[in-house]
């Protein structure tokens, strides 16, 4: 499908406004939300008071970037523990606007609470993406998300007149997904994950069903949970599915790829995004790897203000081929997932194609063993399907060690376990990519 087929946006002006106007809009929203958050969030008040910054000191985005203090998940945990406040000071329990509390996945530690007003920002954000990718009122969408942190609300699709067919995110549900696809002919599949795609691969190898027929109505397949590999995109393409990656926008909202597949577009009218030195506060130029720092511009119930996300990204603010003037970014990995082996930086994304390109480990399940920030040897726990072993497990282990070592120029030690064993580490849509032991 060409970009031209999908050139209509849910908000044409917002998606394509000149960047100067976008920045002016951001500034207006920023100044407004800062006043609100300072008044309603004990955490923001404490942080800013401690930093000696008054909201009245901030008159422009430049002021904000120069003076506003940072926060991260540890800031939230610290406030929560010191004040015995489950909301981590983000909101007051008695704020009448507070209607819902969701939480992060807890992949990097214990879950962080995310308070919301009557609806989460991501609900409307999804609808913007569905529309821009071609879904229209009356279309069915196959909805099999791996967690439903904001419940059975489906307000985003309702805004767009889309009809969700809701199924569990489980390999056991695949026959039902196939049945729903053939019966209702949905145009959107949300969300495909690594384990589900792998389960589809196994399924289609054992049944006399043509995946291209099953999936022929889909215009959009949202892929999430973790980074999409080249192999996965190719497999889906072979079934007639075009995958669009969804990424977390620092727990403020989400960002989804456009048909150019050159990064995900966040909604910059809803969040101010900075890309900074991972260990500092200087801005990184577009095209260079930095840590994403986000500021909520839309919902004062979730006052993540200058929130260091731990996500390493590369940002591009040039006009996109899809027509958007809003930025796009590529996710490079988590800062806390980095391991330095004899000075060489290792991130899960670099390992994925080396592992999932082997038939034995095509599910791409593996963990980096990281007892500390540096190591002499790269230790990996790699999943495999014993039924796919071409020789012995010992031979495969040695072959994999040689391959990864050759590609990354570090010593490698692989512990081979079954895919099933690693999947137990769930949640179902992904496994922790880094383990202490």
């Amino acid at each position: 499908m060409t970009v031209g087929d999908r050139s209509q946006f849910w908000h044409d002006y917002l998606e394509m406004m000149p960047r100067e106007e976008l920045e002016s809009l951001q500034e207006t929203r920023l100044l407004r939300i800062l006043h609100d958050c300072h008044a309603s969030s004990p955490l923001i008040r404490e942080l800013w008071d401690k930093a000696g910054v008054a909201v009245s000191d901030i008159r422009t985005i430049a002021d904000f970037k120069a003076r506003a203090p940072f926060m991260d998940k540890d800031t939230l945990r610290d406030f929560r523990d010191r004040h015995d406040d489950p909301f981590a000071g983000l909101v007051r329990r008695d704020d009448p606007r507070l209607r819902m509390v969701s939480s992060t996945s807890g992949t990097t530690g214990d879950s962080t609470p995310l308070p919301h007003s009557l609806r989460a920002l991501s609900e409307s954000a999804y609808q913007r993406y569905y529309f821009s990718l071609g879904a229209r009122s009356g279309d069915y969408i196959l909805h099999t998300t791996f967690t439903f942190r904001v419940g059975h609300r489906h307000t985003g699709p309702a805004e767009g007149g889309l009809i969700p067919i809701v199924l569990d995110h489980s390999p056991a549900e695949i026959p039902r997904i196939v049945e729903a696809s053939l019966r209702f002919r949905p145009t959107v599949f949300t969300t495909m994950s690594s384990p589900l795609l792998s389960a589809f691969e196994d399924y289609f190898e054992t049944v006399a069903i043509d995946p291209r027929d099953v999936f022929k109505s889909y215009k959009v397949t949202i892929f999430g949970g973790e980074a999409l590999s080249v192999r996965q995109r190719a497999i889906a393409q072979g079934w007639g599915l075009e995958l669009f990656e969804v990424m977390n926008l620092g727990d403020v909202s989400i960002a989804v790829e456009c048909p150019m597949h050159d990064g995900a577009h966040p909604h910059e009218d809803l969040a101010l995004i900075e890309c900074l030195q991972p260990e500092g506060s200087d801005p990184m130029p577009d095209g260079a790897v930095g840590e994403m720092v986000v500021t909520m511009l839309a919902d004062p119930m979730l006052p993540l203000i200058r929130f260091r996300t731990d996500d390493l990204v590369v940002i591009d603010r040039t006009r996109c081929g899809c027509g958007r003037t809003q930025m796009r970014y590529k996710m490079m990995g988590r800062k806390s997932d980095q391991l330095f082996v004899k000075g060489v930086q290792i991130l899960p994304a670099a390992l994925r194609p080396l592992i999932d390109s082997e038939i034995e480990s095509r599910a791409g399940l593996f963990q980096i063993i990281k007892p500390s920030a540096t190591a002499e040897v790269l230790r990996l726990r790699v999943g495999h399907n014993p039924a796919n072993l071409q020789t012995s497990a010992v031979d495969y282990q040695a072959r994999l060690e040689r391959k990864i070592s050759g590609a990354l120029s570090v010593d490698v030690s692989v512990e081979l376990v079954s895919d099933a064993e690693l999947l137990k580490l769930g949640p179902p849509h992904k496994i922790p990519r880094v383990a202490k032991q």
Partner: protein, 223 residues
Amino acid sequence: MTGLTGPVIVGRYLDHGRAEFYPLAEPEVQRVSRGLERVLRTYDLPARSHVLVTSLASQVAAFMPLERALADMHMIVSNADASLFDVPRVVMYVRRFDVRAVLGIAPAVLDGLAAQGHDPAALFAGRVVWATPEACARLAPAEGMTLRMWSELGPAVGAECVHGGGLHVSSEEWSCTVSDQELVLSSRLPKLVGFKAHRTGIRVASMERVCPCGNTDIRVRIA
């Protein structure tokens, strides 16, 4: 003319264990929501109480109306999957927040709690707990919680009020009869998928109309 427009959601109901697609129109969701709200109000939960809902995505036909009711009652709502994997989130919400009610507890949640060394009696003490019939049976020996039953009944949904003694099923939505001790449902109002004398496979011990809570929705006691 049924007055129904198209579906707003396609969920599923279980027909003798087999999942069948279940499209619902907006008026259906609203009616089920009102029926559940009548039951929820008997617990006298103050507005802005924190309520945790545990469910599976596929149970949307039952839980979307429930969450609408909670929103209309101005509750603060959190969600967790009713699965082994999401037990840490259940524990986190209940322990950290002043959760007054936990709705939708299923056997998988109890299995997950046991596997991770949590005692549900201690975790849920002092709270309203709606549990499926099987989970209810497992929790019954525990004391200190207001344990009541909640269940999908084929295409219908039933929940016990604070007085217990059977699952209230919306009498606007369903005509309930018993045949050979089996619950038989017929839809009373227009639905996208209508049911006529639908045998649910669910064994019924008794049915009563009058309830101390003042709700005239029929009460179905599962055998």
